[in-house]
Point group: C2
Chain length 502, copies 2
């Protein structure tokens, strides 16, 4: 009897997941080459299917499954997959049901308006234009937090949307450490007379050659092309339709090969995660990364801990020299290594280097926390933003386009998302530290291009679980401890002190 309901429930969920897979493919297609004129109709189709998934997730049928399967004695009879799936569906159900339908509809309209206003406002560098929309978005989210409830701090509820288990208390502690150690390090780097020479990075590097080189690196990193493909988009991304179809995209800048190179390695990290989620989870909401932060830990691990590592280039620099001989023939490996690890304060988050990046996130965290704790008002954001950039990075935006208006997130109502980027970074450093206990010859592996043991370690400790484990449980089991900023700080200090001879 219960087994029967379990089957029906899983079948019902599988249908929702099938719709999601179709939606994801349409999304991928829109971004990689769907004909322009078809976009409007395709968006409608996506709307129809999304609405259907939403309806299913909040239906009476779903409510009945939740009611029947939730009692503890029933849950004990369920398979592990069914139990975790139930938990996900329940969470989703409650989240969606607690917001009055009319209010949510109004919010969806606001979101899409706000995004287009934000685009205009950014183009005009005019925060005043965006301000009323941002104010409403914040108000709505405050109300949602009230509906959903919160523990300790209202902002915790928003953090929980992206990184279950992470709270303001946790973040305050780690960001305090980062502030204390990274801000002075950045200042020292700025003051150092030993800056890397970087002019050779900007020679013309034809797209086709860049693509060929990227494909070679992807293969060596272990990306499975029988379960993926590489395309070109303005904003690169990785998308897991299912573990057997995980696609990545990149962007080629012929005057700066680093865009495609590090972008591709970054997306490869995301893709390896999705490609190695246990196949049993296909057709359930568990078949994806467990959180934004853990996902980002994988992409940053590949981008920084492998892709910007000296040993990795000891192996791959000669290959790069073959693809662009004129550009690199007279540049020694050491100079190349220092150049691709240049660090300097900059205004734009997505262009920031690995040393300054956490500070960009810290600024956003402090602002979001303030907005939801009533200590910051939207109207004051431009000044607060600029002051914080000056304080932490020593530079001040001279307009809002390169300041408070630079990111898309808030215009879509995403508050609580930014911290994931920094968390991913800290997780990655912690995982690296745990990994080298099992793989003490990590550097030699990179040097020999033997990347399989590294990927396998990540699969065993992170990838395979999908959403069956919470982010902090993955961290705890893989590293033996909770969130700890020390490993990232240590990594950055060691690396940048060496590069800048501090």
């Amino acid at each position: 009897m219960i087994k029967n309901i379990e089957q029906q429930f899983l079948h019902y969920v599988k249908k929702m997941m099938s719709y999601n897979e179709a939606i994801q493919l349409m999304y991928w297609d829109m971004r990689t080459g769907a004909p322009k004129k078809g976009i409007e109709q395709r968006s409608e189709v996506i709307g129809v299917l999304s609405h259907e998934v939403f309806k299913m997730s909040t239906s009476e049928e779903m409510a009945a499954y939740i009611a029947k399967l939730s009692p503890r004695d029933v849950q004990e009879q369920l398979s592990e997959v069914a139990r975790y799936t139930l938990a996900e569906c329940k969470k989703e159900y409650e989240r969606n049901k607690k917001i009055p339908a009319d209010e949510y509809k109004e919010y969806v309209v606001l979101q899409s308006k706000a995004e287009s206003v934000w685009e205009e406002a950014k183009a005009a560098s005019d925060f005043a234009m965006f301000r009323p929309y941002l104010e409403k978005l914040v108000e709505f989210n405050k109300k949602f937090v009230e509906y959903w409830g919160y523990n300790g701090n209202p902002y915790n509820t928003l953090l929980d949307l992206y990184e279950p288990g992470i709270t303001v208390d946790v973040l305050d502690e780690v960001f305090a450490k980062l502030r204390e150690r990274i801000v002075p390090l950045v200042k020292a780097v700025v003051a150092s007379p030993h800056k890397p020479e970087t002019s050779f990075l900007f020679h013309p590097f034809p797209k086709e050659k860049q693509r060929a080189f990227s494909l070679k690196l992807l293969r060596e990193l272990g990306y499975d092309f029988a379960a993926g493909r590489l395309d070109e988009t303005v904003h690169p991304f990785a998308i897991g339709l299912n573990p057997n179809d995980v696609r990545i995209t990149t962007r080629y800048d012929e005057r700066d090969f680093r865009t495609a190179l590090f972008g591709t390695i970054h997306e490869c990290g995301h893709a390896l995660y999705e490609q190695h989620i246990s196949k049993e989870l296909i057709g359930t909401p568990l078949c994806t990364g467990t959180s934004m932060g853990i996902h980002e830990s994988q992409s940053l691990f590949y981008e920084n801990f492998i892709g910007r590592h000296y040993s990795y280039w000891k192996r791959n620099y000669p290959l790069l020299q073959q693809y662009a001989p004129e550009q690199f023939a007279n540049v020694p490996l050491d100079e190349f290594y220092r150049a691709i690890n240049e660090a300097k304060p900059s205004l734009i988050r997505i262009e920031a280097d690995e040393l300054t990046y956490p500070l960009h996130i810290m600024i956003r965290y402090e602002i979001e926390k303030g907005l939801f704790n009533g200590t910051i008002e939207v109207k004051d954001l431009p000044d607060i933003w600029n002051d914080k950039y000056e304080e932490y990075l020593g530079i001040r935006p001279d307009n809002d386009a390169v300041g408070v208006l630079q990111d898309v997130h808030w215009s879509g109502g995403s508050f609580g998302y930014f911290p994931s980027y920094a968390l991913g970074y800290m997780y990655a450093a912690q995982l690296k530290n745990a990994m080298i206990k099992d793989l003490p010859h990590f550097d030699e592996l990179l040097e020999r291009g033997e990347l399989l043991p590294i990927r396998e370690w990540l699969t065993a400790n992170v990838h395979r679980f999908g959403k069956t484990k919470k982010p902090l449980d993955i961290l705890q089991e893989a590293t033996g401890e909770g969130l700890n900023a020390d490993y990232l700080i240590q990594y950055l200090e060691e690396k940048y002190k060496a590069i800048y001879r501090l």
Copy 2:
């Protein structure tokens, strides 16, 4: 009240069409580059969505809409789009409801088994292997015809699936004419000592150059790349996701540029049809070609009446010579024109030239008719097939792989489909004849590359209606008469008598 139900009905149908659009995109993706390992899961997703569409098309809700909106006095109050949509949905509903669910399920299983057995049988050139499956497929279809009912001849019901309005009586008459006039013409061509020189066709022609040339021709033909794209597949096709997104694919053979060239022009003809269906029909089942035959008339019009026309090459041959100078520098236009219009009996339908092609179809028509009229049995097919090839084309297959097993259609249970190919051909010749009354300088238009008036004529007379007009109504209104094989015969006689100096 009625307007209300009409709205709900159209909304319901739009949802089905949204699912269909998603399914079509997944189909396109599977054929153009989806990662191999993901195919299985993607097929499941397609299965889930297709099942949903099927359920909706036969639901009680659909039955209620049909019951409420069908009465004549109600229909009169409906918009034209709603009325035609209702008719389509009703047809589909009745077709699906009349077959007992168990039987249909059994049939679907048989279909998929039969297709894979056919593949094996074809590879082994062993009809005996495929025979029991084909027998069952024919039996099922005979039963379906009984369920659906028929007028005059049981085979009419199958013809109606692909070409509403076309019957055995009509086809017998036109095929008799084709037999009488084309069979002797083919014999005369075979006997002619004035054969075109064709060896220069088979020089290596790099894929990239072929693609660039194809893109140029497509633009000139009027294919809108803002509402489409060109990709590469083993089996080329055109697919209309909606009029603003109509994609084509082609295949490049570096030793025979004709494959991509004429294949692309052919698919372009299909695509121009789909791109120019009235946008009001989006979201209804009317937003597609009205029949297989009319669709084929558009592709064949472009492929043969434009793409194999002397005037077209008078304009485009110099361009082709630029793309492959070594291959064509010393080949005069006249020789090139004769070569691309070479006609000779061959065994394989999809490789046949325009002169012999109708005979390949006639053979299949005669066999299908015999199967469903009880005058031919499956067990005798190989002999019957081979005898007919000998009789009409003067050549005899020496194995079943190049004989009765060559086409995929029957293995999928498609009977009644083949005649559409010949009908499309006859329609195209009739349309051409009507068109030149409005565009008497047709040849000059080709010579000047002014293809817009031609496309506009086809849009005004064929494309825009989508499925709101039946094939024979389109023909009648565009040409002033019903199906008439004379125009095709006249075209072929004039053209091939000139080329082969008969």
